[in-house]
């Protein structure tokens, strides 16, 4: 990781075991045959090294290092303007970096689902998939790609007549139809209903099991929690943290405590280790960085305390904290 661009937090991961040791071992076993491309030997399919990119006065990426390894699902998390799409665009050689280098192992084995694209409304779903499949050396048949992405019922519908969610599903089918070894999904589930999102997640998991590496950018934090082997948090074009979902969460030690109590909100708010307290219809919500200590004090202060629950902060909380740090 690039010196200087990484906050001190990063060092917390240094001692932890590599998160995908097991997965990578499995992948290597699949890959006993000689690799097609020399650059694949080291398991790294795509890489950014010290990449910076400015758009006018805006700094989109600031010395970013990123590595995508074979067979992993890497989630790029970050608020709007964090540089996620810019990072993907540079990996795909759609943009040239101002500084640093980008490397992609083999374009012909790369699938892409972009955020904003308008496809020919006159072509049918099957035809769009057939067209993209023709770019690849050994693609799936359109029928197989549609079956995998649950778009078979849409096969003969003109693209222009589809709903927003159906368009995204079609784009997903187009992204996977070339049987890519590396797949870029830029906000793939934006605009999808719960069921379609679940189906897309299932397909993504199947692809990863089959050895496809996936880079996924998302605003849906639960998406990263549900799918990712590794999470990279970006903010203002810089890498904030990288690790497994658990590791990212552990970076932020906050926990959420909820209970029913007669204690006054103000009193609890004054305790050490309490970050925030809210009370909603008699149910108290405490966010605390030292949960055990706060729980001990709560129980000691209120013998009638009931319905105690302690949660680890979700990725959402971890994420907010990390990115707020950059903002401040």
């Amino acid at each position: 990781m690039g010196a200087g661009s990484v906050p001190p937090r990063q060092s917390q991961f240094a001692g932890s075991p590599p998160p995908f040791a097991e997965k990578r071992e499995l992948y290597r076993m699949d890959n006993v045959l000689p690799a097609v491309d020399g650059s694949m030997h080291n398991d790294c399919l795509a890489e950014l090294r010290g990449v910076s990119k400015r758009f006018g006065k805006t700094c989109a990426l600031d010395g970013l290092d990123l590595e995508v390894r074979a067979g992993e699902l890497l989630a790029l998390l970050g608020p709007n303007g964090a540089g996620k799409t810019t990072a993907i665009s540079i990996l795909l050689a759609l943009l040239r970096p101002d500084a640093g280098e980008a490397r992609l192992f083999d374009k012909r084995q790369t699938g892409v689902m972009m955020q904003e694209v308008a496809l020919a409304p006159e072509l049918r779903v099957r035809e769009h998939i057939d067209l993209v499949a023709s770019y690849y050396p050994a693609p799936l048949s359109p029928a197989a790609a549609m079956e995998m992405t649950h778009t078979t019922p849409l096969a003969n519908r003109p693209y222009g007549k589809l709903s927003g969610g159906q368009k995204r599903q079609t784009q997903f089918a187009m992204a996977i139809c070339g049987r890519p070894k590396l797949l870029f999904l830029d906000e793939p589930t934006a605009g999808l209903d719960v069921q379609s999102r679940q189906m897309l997640w299932d397909t993504v998991r199947k692809l990863v099991r089959g050895g496809t590496a996936i880079v996924l950018t998302t605003h849906y934090l639960e998406e990263a929690e549900a799918l990712a082997d590794r999470v990279v948090v970006l903010a203002k074009g810089r890498l904030m943290a990288s690790g497994t979902v658990g590791e990212i969460r552990a970076v932020v030690s906050r926990k959420r405590i909820s209970c029913r109590t007669t204690l006054a909100v103000e009193r609890i708010a004054s305790w050490q280790g309490v970050n925030s307290v809210t009370c909603d219809q008699g149910r108290l919500q405490v966010v605390a960085s030292d949960a055990e200590d706060v729980v001990r004090r709560l129980l000691a202060a209120d013998a009638q305390l009931a319905e105690l629950e302690v949660h680890r902060a979700g990725l959402a909380e971890a994420f907010t904290e990390l990115t707020q740090e950059v903002a401040s």
């Binding site: 892409v112 972009m114 308008a118 006159e122 072509l123 067209l131 070339g178």
Partner: protein, 243 residues
């Protein structure tokens, strides 16, 4: 080879399915020809076969302009803006496939237009055309439409999708009138006609039909080729740089 063919197939298919594109460009040339060559001036042209052939040649060239100029100009501007070109660059699509597909689409449209116009000339206007003349005219016109594709492409890479129809028309309309496709130009305008590619194509078309044409054929062909190469080179360069 497969991605090129597939791209060309679907580009043609989608444009044939787009009523706002297919209906005007496939029907207007033959309708204008029927109006001018048969309904309005049919009587007069029956006695003046030279004028009849001139009208026919001029309107076939007019027919060749639309698919290339609008099929490239408006479509490229829109697709560039809507991220389709970026997606193609991100995918392993061969870079030239997109342009060649549009070219094939324009040639297919022009083939259909030529077929309907030759049909109208033979069966409605009863022009005395021999098969070799018709074949030569069709070939000259379909290949000679490439500079119109290049003009469209050139406009399409500079302007926005919503501005493109206006800018294409800004070239299309004056070229249509000032290259002498519809009516013989007055002396004062004749000198400026060679600035329009359509003028050069018209001379080649007249030559293909055995009519006297101004200037040498190789000059006209050279101008058309130069316009095509120059404009597409500038456009493709800009696309690669700016996207």
């Amino acid at each position: 080879m497969k991605p090129y063919l597939t791209e060309a197939k679907y580009e043609s298919l989608r444009m044939l399915r787009a009523p706002s594109f297919a209906i005007p460009f496939l029907t207007i040339p033959v309708l204008v020809y029927l109006l001018m060559g048969v309904v309005f001036f049919g009587e007069a042209l029956r006695h003046d076969s030279k004028a009849a052939i001139n009208v026919f040649a001029g309107l076939t060239v007019f027919g060749m302009m639309g698919p290339g100029m609008f099929g490239f100009g408006v479509a490229v501007a829109g697709e560039r803006e809507q991220g389709l070109l970026k997606l193609k660059r991100a995918l392993p699509a061969p870079p030239a496939a997109y342009f060649l597909a549009k070219m094939c689409m324009a040639m297919l449209f022009n083939t259909i237009i030529m077929a309907t116009m030759i049909g109208a000339a033979l069966f409605a206007a009863h022009l005395p055309l021999a098969f070799p003349q018709m074949a030569a005219l069709a070939l000259v016109n379909i290949v000679g439409a490439l500079p119109f594709c290049a003009i469209g492409l050139f406009i399409g890479v500079w302007v926005s999708g919503s501005a493109a129809p206006g800018f294409v028309n800004l070239v299309y309309l004056p070229m249509m009138w000032l290259s002498g496709l519809f009516i013989p130009l007055p002396k004062s305008l004749q000198g400026a006609a060679p600035i329009w590619p359509a003028y050069h194509l018209l001379q080649l078309s007249l030559g293909a039909l055995g009519q006297p044409a101004a200037g040498a054929a190789w000059v006209h062909a050279g101008v058309l080729a130069a316009v095509t190469l120059l404009l597409s080179a500038v456009a493709v360069r800009r696309l690669a740089r700016v996207g």
